[in-house]
Amino acid sequence: MDLNHPLLASAVDLLPPFPSSHPQIQRLDRSLYCQICKELFSGPVSIPCGHSFCSRCIRGSLEVMKKCPSCNEPASEGSIRRNRALEEIVDSWEEARPIIHGLTSNNSRKRSIMNTGPKNAFAAESTKRPRKESTSRSVSPVKQSSDKKEEIDGDADDMIALDPYTNMAESSEDVKASCPLCDITMPIRDISRHIDLGCQPIKPRPKSQGRENLKADWKKVFSGAGLVKGKDVELKKITKPNYSLATPAELRSVLQSYNLSTFGDKPALAHRVQEWILLYNSNLDTSHPKSLGALRAKLNEAEASRRRDKEKGREEMASELKTSDGLARYAQDTKGEFERLRREIMERDKKRVGSGAEAPIEIE
């Protein structure tokens, strides 16, 4: 397993922040982050108080407490509503963000389109998160992309000169990398789906035809037909069973009906059903739903990771995280940063104390 893989690196990568010279754009950007996971909304929903979160995030939170995490107003799972407008805004922001980021940070740097240097997988990757969405795009109706991909890898400055229908986010998806598990090379955008499918080959996405597809996209937005009515995506939410009353046999039959493992004792079964319903129901709150296969893989992965934790203990898991190259370096960097911060503040404290007896540290 290649631990320097861009996918692993980007798993802990924040989108590049906007410079403080553009507070309005910082505010716009901030407003599109879910307050629970601190990432851009994924499958955003609203609750009665008007606050919005990712479907997955608020469903998880409401299982523990029946109130809004932001304002404490009472809320329940039944009151969750999809927020389609917000989803469309986040989707377009995700595509526009690298362009606007370029405009706010590289104003001084102008390069011609012809001049763009060699492609850098890392640089391109950082503009696009391997979001759940990238998995599902391949199953959702074709999004418009561009034929000019080859040319728009560089600065956002270059972008304005191009066809307005092109976008950087899509272009970066053409960058190839090898799968961290099986080493086969493929476009980065395909990797997470490829892994979800147990390292199966991914069929190339059909090339789009510009405006035709844009039209189709609009149609999709207006009809609200975001969901793919694929063979294995059912549209109804699963109603939660009463776990305390359900018998193991009943739980098993629920699991069986979704092709899930029926292994384990009652708490294990109930937990699996619970996790599945969370994944399944939040998957219905997005226009980029995953296939049931991908959901199953996700459930299995979560369960396997919990098992690993149990077996090895959190401590070891944590140190394993630290020994794996990419994360190790990251942890090291962060620690170095912490050290520096600490020293700096200690230094400052010393100076203050030195200048006058017991001088307090003041807020700057």
């Binding site: 307050q35 601190k38 523990v64 630290k322 912490f338 600490r342 307090p360």
Partner: protein, 130 residues
Amino acid sequence: MALRLSTKRLMKELKDIQEKGTPAGIIPLSTESVDEWVFLICVLGDETIYKGEQFALRLIFSDRYPIDCPQVTFIADDQYQPPLHPHVYSNGHICASIFGNEWSPVLTAVSICITMQSMLASNKKKERYV
């Protein structure tokens, strides 16, 4: 290869601290492991009864973070002593509603530190009930 949500969230918080720093009087001390962090807390200004004192706050995160609250205590060892405060036990245990029914998953490690800092700042009497 899939990072748990809790790990991802913590990595984000770390990166955020790295980029923006922490509020005055809150000093990241160690992140020895991904899920156990220690911050130094001091109360700033002349008004405080904790002037010149430093406390070490330890946060231990479970894999259900941020849905579940981290375990938060003041360190009590040779180097650090917990603050004398009506809601802080001598073993460092803290009695605060934010670690109970007022926990919210929108809170972060830094916002916990700020809450602890202001809990200390608003205290006028150095008393320990427990």
